[in-house]
């Protein structure tokens, strides 16, 4: 059995056959993905699933990672923040170092491929060393809808030399002289974060986390960050608590290297301190099974972000058959179909109202959860992601 066949019963009916046919036309083509890390972060998580699947359907897929100095990664982190709209300062030396590190990496990497996909800004300047053969694609995973202009203009000089760009949402598109494609990110239904759990596994994890199942569970999984609005979640929970017995779990990664994150967490702890029904879980970055289990025992999942990139935690929760109440921002708006797979809201009151509505109508929780899972199956699984890459290659091979 091929690796892709493992998705046969999970992906929408007939999809695996379509993927195999799509791949036939471009069999033996070589695709090279380049990013800046093998571990951690959404891009590495996707490539870890996507690259083996590309190989499985007959594409010669490779994944390379660039290396860099501390100064380089500090600069690219600042790029990241500036592209997402934060004010950052860049000295000429920082920009020169960025180009120099890319040039150094180019000396060691082999670009011998029919398609080279460069992920995010860190390796974007590798384009300067592109060989005459092969299509080069810049795959941007971050929200660049309101970038700091000086940084975007610097980066743009590289981006325009690619054959195409890929963004995760239509609003991230820029005025560029190259084709821009939309490819949503995806979740892998066979990864630890999303796979089915046995009753014993679920039970063991829930006991270890000391979660009580006596009261309905509201859950938000996210970093402790003001943009994720954990205080708004607590306020919404309190508004509903007047009418319903329930508990709130806020689960997320620690923020020890982020002073702002630490103060956000302190605020959340303070807001929750006198309520035994609010549980704050600080999870390590590899707590995939724990997140999986929490999403499975929750009754309603919240993602009440004020600002969001794509927010794949929404698709993860929907995949476990849970309705999601999410902030009307970023990729949450394309994952939540209002009134069908959950609700998008613009305020604390809106979130409270929809939680209240769902708790009053438990049959709606089940129905929406079922539709949510089906919606993810159709739109946000790794199989769809694979198909988008195969379609893109087919498009150029016509």
């Amino acid at each position: 059995m091929s690796q892709l066949d493992l998705y046969q019963e999970i992906a929408p009916k007939g999809t695996i056959e379509i993927l195999k046919r799509l791949a036939q036309k471009i069999s033996q083509k070589r695709i090279l993905h380049i990013n800046s890390t093998k571990l951690g972060g959404g891009v590495a998580e996707i490539l870890r699933s996507l690259v083996p699947l590309l190989q499985d359907v007959g594409i010669e897929a490779r994944w390379e990672v660039i290396t860099g100095t501390e100064e380089f990664f500090a600069t690219t982190k600042a790029f990241h923040n500036a592209l997402q709209g934060q004010d950052q300062h860049f000295s000429p030396a920082m920009l020169q170092n960025y180009i120099a590190v890319n040039q150094e990496n180019a000396r060691h990497l082999s670009f011998d491929a029919d398609y080279v996909v460069i992920h995010d800004p860190q390796p974007a300047a590798l384009i300067e060393r592109r060989p005459p053969k092969g299509k080069w694609i810049w795959r941007c995973h971050i929200d660049i809808s309101r970038p700091q202009r000086t940084v975007w203009n610097f980066l743009r000089q590289f981006v325009v030399r690619y054959d195409a760009a890929i963004f995760s949402l239509p609003r991230f598109a820029q005025r560029l002289p190259i084709p821009q494609f939309l490819i949503y990110p995806s979740i892998d239904p066979l990864s630890d974060k999303n796979r089915e759990l046995t009753e014993e596994e679920l039970d063991r994890i829930i006991k270890r986390l000391r979660i009580s199942l006596e009261k309905p569970i509201l859950l938000q999984v996210s970093r402790f960050d003001r943009f994720k609005d954990p205080l708004g979640v607590i306020q919404a929970y309190r508004l509903v608590k007047k009418h319903h017995e329930l508990q709130l779990i806020l689960a997320g990664g620690g923020a020890t290297d982020d002073p702002e994150g630490e103060s956000a967490l302190a605020e959340v702890r303070k807001a929750a301190e006198d309520d035994p029904d609010i549980q704050i879980l600080l999870l390590p970055p590899d707590a995939n099974l724990e997140i999986n289990a929490l999403q499975r025992v929750a009754n309603i999942v919240l993602q009440k972000s004020l600002r969001e990139g794509f927010g794949l935690t929404v698709a993860e929760a929907m995949w476990k058959g849970k309705p999601v109440i999410g902030g009307f921002t970023g990729g949450i708006t394309v994952q939540v179909v209002y009134g069908i797979t959950g609700f998008t809201v613009n305020s604390v009151e809106g979130a409270a109202y929809q939680i209240h509505y769902l708790l009053d109508n438990p049959e709606m929780i089940a129905k929406m959860g079922q539709d949510a899972k089906e919606y993810v199956r159709q739109n946000f699984l790794i199989t769809r992601h694979l198909g988008d890459y195969l379609a893109l290659m087919n498009y150029w091979e016509r």
Binding site: P12, K13, E17, I18, R171, A173, F181, T341, D371, N394
Partner: protein, 228 residues
Amino acid sequence: MSAKQIAKHPFLFVGCWELRQMLGLSARDEQQFMEAIEEIPLDSIYYHTHSFLLRHRYIAGPYPNDFATWAAIQVRDRVLGEKLGILYPYDFENLDSLRAEIVKIIGQHLSELQIIPRVIYGEPFHFMQSRIIEVPTGLEARTLAEFREVLATVDVSVIYYHTYEAILRLGRTHGDFALWIEEQLGMPDLANQIAKLDPYLTSLESIRHRILKICDAYWEKGGKNEPT
């Protein structure tokens, strides 16, 4: 004709995959929206009115095209949403005439208003275009039983390709399914029932389900020749 009638030419099932291309063009109010619709490539009109259904395989949207959905949901102008929502793309000879009608509807609507409705809390409209990649599945049918069996299991893009794409591609009034059943199996009644399905107001899964039901009812009426 028997349900086991064998077609001279088999039905070849073709699916498709939509590559979504962004134009980098957006509208925040209905005036910009109308002006952009006047200028965008026809592939973008196609994306927002036809292949819309390919993106709503399982859940039908509130309105059957992106233009109506944006006006009603994002601008909160339900009047324009309703006017655009009722448009039936196959009433138009081609995408150019569909574009002209959309522009006319928005223009008339704006002429009746004192202010131009715009997005306040919602999302701007982002113009996109479709790149449809044909994918022959390698599956074929020579009898109605085989046709039903394959249709029940293929990727739902096959339904899209042989109904919506076929009508647009071949300029015919019916999709490929009805045409083949009539011409190759000689079953005009069944073909007519399938041709009458309004594919535009539902999801692709629902269309699949309805075609299968029609085939089953056809067998039941005949009382024999059950699908194998």
